[in-house]
Symmetry: C2
Subunit: 175 residues, 2 copies
């Protein structure tokens, strides 16, 4: 894999565990085995790293959504598949959605990072809205926001308690 993606992998894991400010160039560099100064070659400012990280996360996520839902027929099945993308990393690595973590710290993040987090949520609401529209829901936009809120909140609480059943219960309650 190329260096930028190796850097982002490490940054992503750490940020999803402990937040933006808990991740340092020094820590990332020492895990790779290079000097922290070298990281600034790839990501001059920490904000650049944060922005790239959320962008990559968002693109990977929606690539997975596309792949895992393309052969499904009903909106219900698609939404379950959508939720199970979040679930896979939660259950075997106890990792919450990157944007759930960054969203919680949003008021203290560099502007560019906060903007990307918002964009991720927007894209999620858009995708979910389309499903609820297809399902014939009365207010698909509100329902989409509610579903996203539930999933993000359930991930966070599941991770804190290291108890995946909370997320499972949340998914079962959707629709």
């Amino acid at each position: 894999m190329d260096r930028p993606n190796i850097i982002l992998d490490i940054a992503e894991r750490r940020m999803r565990q402990a937040g933006y400010n808990a991740v340092s160039y020094r820590d990332i560099a020492s895990e790779i085995g290079i000097k922290s100064a070298s990281l600034h070659y790839h990501f001059p400012k920490k904000e650049d790293l944060g922005v790239a990280l959320v962008q990559r996360y968002s693109e990977n996520f929606f690539a997975a959504v596309k792949q895992n839902t393309s052969e499904l027929k009903t909106p219900q099945d698609k939404i379950k598949a959508f939720a199970s993308i979040f679930n896979s990393e939660l259950k075997d690595q106890n990792l919450v959605c990157l944007c759930a973590v960054l969203g919680a710290e949003a008021a203290g993040l560099p502007e560019g990072v906060t903007h990307e987090v918002k964009s991720f949520f927007d894209r999620n609401v858009l995708w979910l809205t389309a499903q609820y529209e297809a399902y014939g829901h009365a207010d698909p936009v509100s329902k989409a926001k509610i579903t996203l809120s539930l999933l993000e909140g359930a991930m966070m609480i599941s991770a804190v308690n290291d108890d995946n059943s909370i997320f499972d219960a949340a998914v079962s309650s959707i629709l």
Copy 2:
């Protein structure tokens, strides 16, 4: 007000905006107009401050729950009142639940702080479970966890988008 509570007020506001690691003794001290060393007299370690903060938050929250629900009859009304405690600070200060923020960073927090965050969630689930039991819900514990997840998630997303209607929609969907 006494000094410890003044310190905790400032720490609470900042932590609910930007997270645990974004709050420094220096910043708190300079806002009060004393030296950071003086803060260590009241809270020797940052973990002590974090623990005291979550404990105070939890106690204040459940005092408000008790006060705002004591004269209400139905579990539905009580749960709405419960949600509106979260909502009041969200809508006029854009402040998320302290434990939603700290929960997102839980894996990187001092052990004592994480423990208090868990306790807060436990207490919430307990309280909500009692309401759903009174309501005759089939699985009151799961329902309680789902409701808490929804509220915490909706607060976070509402704050990021500075759009209170997301939280309102979430509250309307409960029960």
